[in-house]
């Protein structure tokens, strides 16, 4: 491969300074985060009473957000591990996008759990007094493990790129140069280093799959091990994992489109990538739809008295607009868009991905809240506010702030590091040329 071609790839993929739009975007996200932080300070000083959560709905949009973050983080294992192990080389430009989405999502999944606690200063008690029998402890263990695996999976393939970044001292500032040196100055691209790194990535790719399955299965068990209408299901683990892969893939398509458009990466994130990711998304949406049919049709067919109110609330009652919105936007409309070749072009695929992400957030809300409002025992002598749940502005601000925080991590990462692996792209281009 000619040096000029390598030079071109490298220059194309080097991190770029924020333009006007980039700065506005970062500023917007920071404002959302600050508002969320102010709301959290209010919650800390006044207690959880500032939220709409009461005796019945004790898990509101914070836990919906938690489940959403855990779900979206699974994309790291889908793109990086599953596609890498199946030798799907086309996925190389997407691996880092997927990994940074996974790391940022899992970081905020951990934070949002602490936000949900009335007394976060007592968080350490979970470790001191936690019971191994409790799914909550399993969740804590598996989230921590998944975070470290995702971090390593992000870091190992980054090492060769750090060496490339260090070569472009004139294009970077002092602080970033220091950061690159600190993280990767020891990488000399020797055959031994490459061998160790490849082996490490392979080990991580294998390890992350069962851990990823565990993380979301355990999250589903937080609900399924509780005997309540809507949660009492043996299907929940698979239902959650299929939904998680769907939202993760949707998020990657959204991120692909945005990075492609703003960093001029059309040569690297091509129509073919949208086409393939579109097909994956259709398959995952169909799979998730299948699990949804199972999850709702079977209980609706039996219509047990104790579950009737909950189910009818979803189908035709109080939650029907949100329920059908989620089903349509997270599954049906994306399937209809992406099933045709034209629909898998960048813009329609981006719209479909966005619909999946938005619909999936509301789907998590529907998993958590309606069940809590339909206990087996009737609500007696309770204030009216206990019987309904609509988040307060503090809850919205914190939830939106956490989503903005996750996006901010991805944005800042793309500013500092190459969002498409430079070294791997060069190697693969060389291989293709040889073939």
């Amino acid at each position: 491969m000619e040096n000029s071609a390598i030079q071109k790839i490298t220059e194309d993929l080097l991190p770029q300074k924020f333009g006007k739009q980039g700065k506005l975007w970062v500023g917007f996200l920071i404002v959302l985060c600050v508002i969320g932080f102010i709301a959290y300070c209010r919650q800390l000083s006044k207690g959880l009473v500032v939220t709409s959560m009461r005796d019945y709905v004790s898990w509101g949009i914070y836990i919906s957000n938690f489940v959403f973050f855990v779900a979206i983080s699974l994309v790291g294992s889908l793109i990086t591990a599953v596609l890498r192990l199946t030798n799907a080389e086309w996925s190389t430009p997407l691996t880092r996008i997927a990994e940074i989405i996974a790391v940022s999502a899992i970081t905020f999944a951990s934070l949002i759990i602490i936000v949900d606690m009335g007394r976060p200063d007592r968080f350490y008690n979970l470790f001191i007094h936690g019971r191994l029998q409790s799914p909550i402890i399993w969740d804590v263990i598996v989230i921590t493990t998944y975070f470290f695996i995702s971090l390593l999976l992000l870091y190992f393939p980054l090492l060769p790129d750090l060496q490339i970044l260090l070569r472009f001292k004139e294009k970077t500032n002092k602080r970033l140069y220091w950061l690159y040196s600190f993280l990767g100055s020891f990488w000399k691209n020797t055959p031994q280093q490459i061998k160790i790194s490849r082996r490490a990535v392979n080990i991580l790719s294998i390890t992350i799959i069962p851990v990823a399955f565990s993380i979301h299965t355990v999250t589903s068990w937080l609900f399924a091990t509780t005997y309540r209408p809507g949660w009492d299901s043996t299907n929940f683990g698979a239902y959650f994992i299929s939904g998680a892969f769907l939202v993760g893939a949707g998020a990657v398509i959204v991120a692909m489109y945005i990075f492609r458009a703003h960093y001029n990466l059309e040569k690297y994130i091509t129509y073919s990538h949208f086409d393939k990711m579109g097909k994956i998304l259709v398959m995952l949406a169909l799979l998730y739809l299948y699990f949804n049919v199972n999850e709702f049709l079977v209980p609706a067919f039996k219509m047990k008295k104790s579950e009737e109110e909950h189910l009818m609330g979803l189908f035709t009652g109080e939650f029907a607009p949100v329920f059908w919105f989620a089903i349509c936007t997270a599954m049906i409309i994306p399937i209809l868009i992406l099933v045709s070749r034209k629909g898998r072009r960048p813009l329609p695929a981006f719209i479909a991905g966005l619909l999946v992400v938005v619909g999936s957030w509301f789907k998590r809300y529907l998993i958590v809240t309606p069940t809590l409002l339909h206990p087996f025992l009737p609500m007696h002598d309770v204030p009216e506010s206990y019987k309904h749940y609509f988040p307060t502005w503090e809850e919205w601000a914190i939830a939106i702030g956490s989503l903005a925080g996750a996006m901010l991590i991805v944005t800042i990462f793309a500013r500092i590091f190459p969002i498409i692996p430079i070294h791997e792209t060069i190697i693969e281009t060389e291989q293709h040329e040889k073939e």
Binding site: I149, F186, Q193, I196, R199, I203, T207, V211
Partner: protein, 290 residues
């Protein structure tokens, strides 16, 4: 005009007073009072007064009624045994005090009287119960046969009594359990009943002891009599608790071994891999520095 006003007010007030008076008389119910005699285990003798009244066609228990107890029919101060107040079950209990001994031993037959004084709600009411002094004797044999004898005091001697109904049971926490399928036994000409113990494998105390109880209930002549005896016919009770068992619902540090093995082996395996990979990272660093 003014005089007319005063007159009207006076008429209204008088009519109200009259109404109240009528209302008060109308609310006085007949108090139904009765008294029972108990002789437990031939040791403790006591009296229980019961109060109830009929309200809206239904009998209601009457609490908070002061009742005075007397020995003999004469409610003279010298025969006064004591006072008690009925509880929410309409029962007032009084142990026969040692001070009544001289009166008690005068005759093998006694009469007890209870008096509730007149109040705003009830008129004075009296009730009495005559009793003949009697006692039960219980004996057991090794082949788990139970013999109970009813004895009545005649002059100074105790004589057996024929035709008295009694129950033989085992004392349990929530009530008495018959020793066999026979509900009630009747004493024969020797004043005795014989019952076979047919409740094998019944949990007893730590030594396997059970308490047998024979009882005569609401007998017209003798009142309520009981006698108890402890027998080693039960199974030894061994206290067991789930508190220290390793279960999925146990406290911290008491999870099932299989769960601990499974969970810790997974955690250790995954973290060994992660630590190994961090070691590989250090190796990469070393190679780069060389």
């Amino acid at each position: 005009m003014k005089r007319n006003n005063y007159l009207s007010i006076a008429i209204v007030l008088l009519s109200l007073i009259r109404f109240n008076a009528i209302a008060q008389n109308a609310s006085k119910n007949d108090l139904l009072l009765s008294v029972s005699y108990f002789n437990n285990n031939n040791q403790t003798q006591y009296l229980v007064a019961h109060t109830k009244c009929k309200i809206d066609g239904k009998f209601q228990l009457v609490p908070n009624v002061d009742v005075s107890f007397y020995i003999t029919n004469d409610s003279a101060a010298s025969n006064f045994l004591g006072k008690a107040t009925t509880n929410e079950k309409g029962e007032a209990t009084l142990l026969i005090p040692p001070a009544a001994k001289s009166e008690w031993i005068k005759s093998p037959k006694q009469n007890f009287e209870v008096v509730s004084k007149a109040s705003n709600l009830y008129d004075e009411t009296k009730a009495n119960t005559p009793i003949s002094k009697a006692k039960l004797k219980i004996e057991t044999s090794d082949d788990k046969k139970i013999t109970v004898t009813v004895l009545e005091q005649k002059d100074t001697a105790w004589t057996v009594v024929k035709g008295v109904d009694l129950k033989v049971a085992i004392k349990r926490l929530d009530g008495d359990l018959n020793v066999n399928e026979t509900q009630t036994f009747t004493t024969d000409s020797t004043g005795t009943i014989a019952a076979d113990f047919k409740r094998d494998s019944l949990p007893g105390d730590a030594q396997g002891n059970l308490t047998l109880i024979a009882k005569v209930e609401d007998n017209d002549n003798y009142g309520n009599l009981t006698v108890e005896k402890t027998v080693p016919w039960g199974n030894k009770f061994e206290y067991s608790t789930n508190y220290d068992r390793r279960t999925l619902f146990a406290r911290r540090g008491h999870s099932p071994i299989w769960l601990e093995l499974l969970a810790y082996s997974i955690i250790v395996a995954v973290w060994i891999i992660l630590i190994y990979l961090i070691g590989q990272l250090r190796k990469i660093k070393r190679l780069g520095v060389q």
